[in-house]
């Protein structure tokens, strides 16, 4: 069962999860994410995508099965991971810079000056170099999400776990941030496990799209995305892209309880 485990960034083996005495939410999920992969999870609402992400992060314990992150238990691999939530979840009493510094500050691994420098560099990378002194409430939704991304990247994660990070944004902002994510990934080389409801977003970003089914949640299909990197915005209108979006959409349509928005967008 565990062949190749040492190489994989994330190895999920026969993972099941139920809350309390309720029906199990995930059942026998097995999934590998290789180093450098960008894997999207897509599936009907309530199928357990967020739960799977939290299991990988070690935020909730599995009922049975195992998760390994870089060969370690999730709890021991936290140094390696960063989580990005659907909402920006910034601390409103901290400035933008203070928010980006948070992870480094809690880890207490670097001194104050270095922290500030890293935070400023990352804010620059997400295009917010000039609002470091602002408070979150002064920013737009898209800007807040960029801050959230900068905060996640500040600790130099090897694995980025993202739960519908762009779900609350308008399509234009979402597309722009998608392109920026790919650029950042190119520069920093992290691995990603990414939850989304948008098929087009999943295909645009990923090296592989994993379609989950609900009740109980399990892997329905894995669809590799063959396009190379770097990817440009124009890819979205390429025939190969559109036909792949169609394929993922029809895989989703094959599931009951379909609560998925958007096709090609």
């Amino acid at each position: 069962m565990s062949e190749g485990c040492g190489r994989a960034m994330v190895a999920v083996r026969g993972l099941s999860k139920g809350y309390g005495r309720g029906a199990s939410i995930l059942e026998g999920v097995t999934l590998d994410v290789a180093r450098g992969d960008f894997v999207s999870l897509i599936g009907p609402s309530g199928c357990g995508k967020s739960t799977l992400l939290k299991l990988v992060a070690g935020l909730v314990p599995p009922t049975s099965g195992a998760v390994e992150v870089d060969g370690m238990t999730p709890a021991n691999a936290r140094q390696l991971m960063s989580f990005i939530f659907q909402e920006a979840t910034l601390l409103p009493w901290r400035t933008v810079l203070g928010n980006v510094e948070l992870g480094l500050e809690l880890e207490q691994s670097v001194d104050r000056g270095r922290r500030r420098a890293v935070a400023e560099e990352l804010l620059g990378l997400v295009g917010l170099g000039d609002v470091g002194g602002h408070y979150p409430r002064q920013l737009s939704g898209g800007m807040r999400m960029r801050v959230s991304i900068a905060r996640a990247l500040a600790t130099r994660p090897g694995l980025l776990l993202m739960d519908e990070p762009f779900g609350a944004l308008d399509e234009m902002t979402r597309d722009r941030l998608n392109e920026e994510m790919l650029r950042l990934r190119e520069e920093q080389g992290w691995t990603a496990l990414f939850v989304t409801h948008s098929v087009a977003e999943a295909v645009f970003l990923s090296t592989r799209v994993v379609v989950l089914r609900a009740k109980p949640g399990r892997v329905h299909r894995e669809i590799p995305v063959p396009f190379g990197f770097p990817r440009r915005a124009s890819l979205r209108s390429a025939p190969g892209f559109l036909s792949l979006v169609g394929e993922v959409s029809s895989a989703l349509r094959g599931l009951d309880g379909n609560g998925v928005e958007g096709g090609a967008g």
């Binding site: 991971m81 601390l91 948070l102 880890e107 408070y135």
Partner: protein, 263 residues
């Protein structure tokens, strides 16, 4: 600040009208001054005995501020304990409710008996009165932190202390101030009640509570009015001081301090 000043203009206008009407009524209706003294007479009595008046205000202010301070420290500490787990809350919250439901006038004589008459007892009565709103609001603030933020801190392997200091306490700050607003008004009432019982043996030094009883027994209605107004002024200034602190600490980031376009 400008907004504050223009905001104050309206209530001040109302005040001027009431004072004018009050003076006119006492003159035209020829109400005897021991029933209802006019504002001019009240002012006169206050001026004439301003040394006693200021001493009473100072005594009560010290007691109210002292008790308020004790309540803030104890209240926040209690809230931090209560915020530790639902089990702790289930065990202890019923007893914090006692603070709210047992009338202070019932407890004050006991406190007087145990701790003697004087500042210490008054401070204690004030603290008891002020404690519950602080505990209740702060606890609510400490436990109502967004789950995602807690997860975020866990992902960084944050210690319990880091979660408390960097997440729960700042998050609870607005709720704490809600409690402080309520308690600031209560603190003067508490000082008044405490003095009523605790300081009757130190004539002339007894703070507003004692002075009012004394003025009443002597039928010095004009001075009594001056004392009541001093009480109101003291309570209001405490409240305003709290609101000022709140503004200083929250206006940069908290939604309640966002400038509004309406009105």
């Amino acid at each position: 600040m400008r907004r504050f000043l223009t905001g104050a203009a309206w209530p001040l206008g109302v005040l001027a009208l009431v004072v004018a009407g009050w003076q006119a009524a006492t003159v035209w209706l020829a109400i005897p001054p021991y029933i209802l003294p006019g504002p001019a007479r009240v002012m006169g009595a206050g001026m004439e005995r301003h040394e006693n008046l200021l001493l009473a205000v100072r005594t009560s202010a010290v007691a109210a501020a002292g008790g308020f301070g004790v309540a803030v420290v104890c209240g926040v500490l209690a809230a931090v304990v209560l915020a530790q787990s639902p089990l702790v809350r289930r065990c202890l919250v019923p007893y914090t409710i006692l603070l709210q439901t047992v009338p202070v006038v019932a407890v004050a004589p006991l406190i007087l008996m145990w701790f003697g008459s004087g500042l210490r007892s008054v401070v204690l009565v004030v603290a008891i009165v002020c404690l519950f709103p602080i505990i209740a609001n702060t606890t609510q603030g400490l436990v109502s932190v967004d789950r995602n933020l807690l997860d975020l801190f866990r992902m960084s392997n944050a210690t319990r202390l880091q979660v408390l200091v960097r997440l729960r306490l700042p998050h609870a700050l607005p709720a704490l101030f809600t409690g402080l607003r309520i308690s600031s008004g209560l603190s003067v009432i508490g000082a008044f009640t405490g003095e009523w019982f605790a300081s009757s043996n130190t004539v002339g030094q007894g703070g507003l509570g004692y002075s009012i009883i004394y003025a009443n027994s002597q039928l010095q209605t004009d001075y009594l009015f001056a004392l009541v107004l001093a009480c109101a002024a003291l309570g209001s200034s405490f409240f305003l001081a709290v609101v000022g602190c709140e503004w200083l600490m929250l206006h940069r980031w908290h939604e309640s301090a966002l400038p509004r376009e309406t009105e």
